[in-house]
């Protein structure tokens, strides 16, 4: 991102404009399906099973038409695993031929050599392969068995097809922050660009946030690493809360929810941001009259998010201007007030609040939808449980029952069941001893 200005004094800084919202989002996250072949433990959309109400191909195309009219330059398509939709490639072609660029996130399951060649030939498509560990041990713990192998095979296929500068996308966790250099090396090996994003306590991420989120020292390590690598590493602007350590990180440096970004979910619901799938952040649905454009322009929720925000408890902090209070979704799903510090506030104010939080874990807000697979990862079930069966022989039969139609001359003949050693003998009735 570059900001180009002529040097005359401006009445407003660019971020001030963004805080008031734009006529159309700069980019938009669109989750095409809740279906997924994986069950990542930190999935922010709690994906797994398809929702029967998901937008049809025609409905998706009319959303793309709207995005074209609004001049939304590109959409970040995700899910679920978007490539498992049978119309996925058709929708990608439709978007890119209607001036809407596509960047899609995938675990790589469908990126065959043929698909990779097709993608490499389309300038308007960018691919983001998700990997959350630089080794199979770290990755597969989060993303499931053999998902490391799948991702690396996909990257190999893209690289072989001549696709350059696709993205290797990593959610930074307690377990993988020591591997940042290794991720960079993997990205370099395949000619990809590394993209690091923040773990949010959203969706299933809420269940594992305590285990996976980086420690305070690791946050500092990550910040220093990001500063050292500058614009060469992408972050989707997700670490602006770390800017309070000192030098601001590249990016807009503000929460874009409802102002410059939003989410369209698989059933057409429009949320303020991809990390806030909760009724409180639901702005409308693309199936409503006026469609997406109307939701973006007229939603009461978005109007509220675009109005000047008070810094609340943070307004007296000298770093408020750089961190802007951090991530709304992270605060919401950890039960912290929205006008207070981020749970990972680098000054430690969030940690303090979390410690003194009186809410019990069960009473924290939960995502509005859950499409997790019912079988994987295993979870306790309600009900009577499995039916217990014992397989054994009926004592009152020496041989299988004889049908009235049996014509075999030996039908009904039962050889002695006792052998010389007293054990039951095997063999058939036609094998008399």
């Amino acid at each position: 991102m570059t900001i180009v200005e002529a040097a005359r004094p401006q009445p407003m800084r660019l971020v001030d404009h963004f805080e008031l919202g734009l006529d159309a989002p700069i980019c938009l996250t669109w989750e095409l399906t809740y279906a997924c072949n994986l069950s990542c433990i930190h999935c922010l959309s709690s994906s797994g099973r398809r929702d029967p109400r998901e937008l049809t191909t025609e409905e998706c195309k009319s959303v793309i038409d709207e995005l074209q009219r609004m001049q939304v330059f590109y959409v970040n398509i995700g899910g679920g695993e978007p490539t498992v939709r049978s119309d996925f490639w058709e929708l990608v072609d439709y978007a890119t031929s209607h001036d809407v660029g596509v960047k899609f996130s995938t675990n790589g399951v469908k990126i065959t050599p043929e698909v990779a060649r097709m993608l490499a030939a389309n300038d308007y498509v960018d691919v983001q392969i998700s990997l959350d560990g630089a080794t199979p041990e770290v990755n597969d713990h989060i993303r499931g068995p053999r998902s490391y192998e799948t991702a690396l095979r996909a990257m190999q296929n893209l690289s072989d097809a001549g696709m350059t500068n696709f993205k290797l996308s990593v959610v930074c966790t307690h377990q993988n922050i020591p591997q940042l250099d290794d991720f960079k090396a993997i990205a370099d090996r395949y000619g990809a660009q590394l993209r690091l994003t923040r773990l949010r306590p959203s969706g299933r991420g809420a269940d594992v946030w305590d285990e996976l989120h980086p420690t305070k020292d690791q946050q500092r390590e990550l910040y220093d690493w990001l500063v050292a690598h500058g614009e060469g590493v992408l972050t989707g602007d997700s670490f602006f809360h770390l800017s309070a350590y000192g030098q601001a990180l590249p990016g807009l440096g503000l929460c874009g929810a409802g102002r410059v970004v939003c989410l369209i979910d698989p059933v057409g619901d429009v949320y303020a941001c991809p990390f806030a799938i909760h009724d409180q952040f639901l702005a409308g649905n693309v199936r409503m009259p006026g469609g997406f454009a109307e939701v973006w322009k007229s939603s009461e929720l978005f109007a509220r998010l675009r109005s000047p925000q008070s810094g609340g408890a943070c307004s007296s902090c000298q770093f408020y201007d750089t961190c802007k209070g951090g991530c709304m979704a992270a605060k919401f799903f950890t039960g912290l007030p929205l006008d207070g510090p981020d749970p990972e506030c680098v000054q430690g104010y969030g940690e303090e609040l979390l410690k003194n939080r009186t809410d019990r874990v069960e009473s924290l807000p939960k995502a509005s939808t859950d499409h997790s697979h019912l079988t994987s990862p295993p979870r306790p079930r309600s009900g009577m449980g499995p039916v217990r069966l014992t397989l054994r022989r009926r004592e009152d039969f020496d041989a299988p029952p004889v049908s009235a139609c049996a014509e075999d001359p030996l039908a009904g003949f039962a050889p002695s069941r006792e052998g010389a050693d007293g054990r039951i003998q095997g063999g058939t009735a036609a094998d008399p001893r």
Binding site: V4, I26, F73, Y74
Partner: protein
């Protein structure tokens, strides 16, 4: 970044899309996938006028940039050239894109 030569001729990169905004404009390059923000409506008019102007100086003048401010706008155009948002074209060849 040094400014571009006022006598050179430029146009938008064919893969760049421009979206006017109250504060100026958003530019998106589909090839490099980079976003640029123009923080100024005048700069937007300069960029939009590049194609049909004889040279950069003429594009600035047509957008109402005074001579005092010219170096500032040439520097801004230099930044856009650096990220391939605008590309140089042969002087006097401004009809080429429309004819193609």
């Amino acid at each position: 970044m040094a400014g571009i030569d006022p006598g050179s001729a430029w146009r938008l990169h064919p893969q760049v899309s421009v979206r006017p905004e109250p504060f100026g404009a958003l530019l998106y390059h589909f090839g490099t996938r980079r976003l640029s923000f123009l923080k100024d409506r005048t700069l937007l008019r300069v960029v939009q006028g590049l194609q049909d102007a004889t040279d950069a100086r003429a594009a600035c003048a047509a957008a109402g940039v005074s001579d005092d401010h010219l170096p500032v706008y040439l520097r801004a155009l230099g930044t856009l050239a650096e990220s391939s948002m605008i590309v140089e074209r042969p002087a006097g060849d401004h009809g080429a894109e429309h004819a193609a």
